[in-house]
């Protein structure tokens, strides 16, 4: 994706992860800033469906040619779905980080944790 973008309908974690909340489930991924810093993604190592994620802890790793990065959970819960398409097409994380580059869907254990997250403009300001 050529230009930086931070959609308004998402919430953001300072460690460069985004959340799309839909009721008591949420979708996680990494932001444009994160994929730009990593460079071309070559491998995404997903967690297992059914495993627990904890806010602020790492739940997966994403690997580019030059670096490996932890992916931080913005909220806590149980993983209900994993984006297996990233196995064949890890570049989706670079090309469409908020769409086809989604990583996991989680049933939230404590939706109030979302109060700690940043909105798009707060996150974007933090990058400056």
């Amino acid at each position: 994706m050529a230009d930086a973008s931070y959609p308004d309908d998402l919430r953001y974690h300072p460690e460069h992860d985004w959340v799309r909340i839909e009721g008591d489930t949420a979708t996680f991924g990494i932001t444009w800033y994160a994929q730009d810093a990593l460079g071309e993604v070559v491998f995404f190592d997903p967690p297992e469906v059914g495993s627990t994620v904890t806010k602020d802890d790492s739940y997966a790793e994403v690997e580019s040619v030059k670096a490996v990065s932890d992916v931080i959970a913005p909220l806590s819960g149980e993983i209900v779905e994993v984006n297996t398409a990233l196995g064949d097409d890890p570049e989706a994380i670079n090309n469409d980080p908020y769409g086809a580059g989604w990583m996991v869907k989680v049933r939230l254990s404590d939706p109030s944790e979302a109060d700690d997250l940043l909105d798009a403009s707060a996150y974007e300001s933090s990058l400056a």
Binding site: E40, V42, F43
Partner: protein, 525 residues
Amino acid sequence: MSAREISGEVPAAAGMQSPLQREQARTIFEKGARGRRAFSCPAPAVPAADPQALLPAELRRAAPPRLPEISEPELVRHYVRLSKRNFDLDSGFYPLGSCTMKHNPRLHERVAALPGHARLHPRQHPARAQGALELMWRLERALAEVSGLPHVSLQPSAGSHGELAGVLLTRAYHADRGERGRTKVLTPDTAHGTNPATVTMAGLEVVKVASNADGGVDLEDLRAKADDTVACLMLTNPNTLGIFDPHIEQITEIVKDAGATCYYDGANLNAIMGITRPGDMGFDIVHFNLHKSFTQPHGGGGPGSGPIAVSDRIEPYLMVPRIVRTAGDGNGGPATFALSEDHPKSIGRLRGFQGNYGTFVRAYAYICSLGAEGLRDASETAVLNANYLVARLRELGVAEHLPLAFGELCMHEFVLSGAPMKRDLKIRTLDLAKRLLDHGVHPPTVYFPLIVDEALLVEPTETETRETLDDFAQALAAILREAAEDPEIARQAPYTTPVRRLDEAGAAKRPVIRQPLAEAEPMNA
């Protein structure tokens, strides 16, 4: 090649390729034919026993491994041609920072090949390996003198292996004193990658110490972090910025007052031989890279050797076996040497046999050749060459785009930052490095250390002439001038190498790490 060809306007495919560029890479597995052979197997010449009785079918392979079938001339041509697709130190300047690419004296290959060294079995009885044991003992003494630490083990296979030994020794030392709460290793944020990896392998935890504005260790941060949970500080001095920390004595004192050990990463020893010694700076454990300061050839990525020297308080835990010298009988009988395993507190061994003896022969020959004066001259000239190169770059205006990241003087290596170049000339350190390849030199180390943006780590070493350094400075200046005119040239470089820029992401995404082979056929085919 014409300027237009170099700039890429005229594609290389229009016939203007070198033979090396034109030649498609084919592995040895894609050459040869059924029935060709280079090896002539001797006849067994013993009474034939039934092979199936000797080794039953269920233990046997059904088909032999699909190794190539080629004659000797084919084998020679393949590998010699392949060698020509390599740049090497004998052929050109190789200022790879942190690697000390100094000349490999050819005498060393001759002595290492002597059958008395090369065909000596590691399990030969020590009484019949006295030459080898004496050589090792003398090398140990020399390394002890250079480092200022009296007890040496030549066992580790490389620098990072020596680091592992150092951390395990530290753990053993603290455990023996009942201090098992010491689980942290402090390392500066300028440290080489092997340091944190080693610490994790040895079951401890890395804690980073900040660098100050001058590129040295931030003493306040160190004081705050050096407590009784710290096992060790791992440091190299001069550091990876080529800077000798003026507070080194305070640093080791702070750490030792906190009850921890001090480990010296000897990768930068080339700056200080005969000038200062890690033992005198307050370190407990030092590792040497025989393939850096002591001229063991780099071999394309090894073999190396990582001996360590330690202080009295660490000595009990040193690996076994150790070399023990017994003085002569006073009646003209020579001193004798033995291998000893009788050290109850030793951490044990970290590899088979005695270590990379072939590297000891070469390092020892080097030390014999140079002597005290020569080793000091090597370090002095290494520092002289690095500072002279910095001066030339300043004179030619290179420093404007590639400034020194820290300080004014350096030790044996220095770091430039490509950030101004990137901003003003629109080319990155990577592009500069690739364009240098077209000038017939190996680029310096790029993107390390991590604390410098667009880093270029340059280590000329002492074996280069002043003329070579002048030529290198000129090459950098030429590339910058070219970039000011047209940045695209460097961005598409190199043009003249056997292959041009390679798709590294593709190699990582869908790794192909062996040659696909035709289906296996049964043994008798």
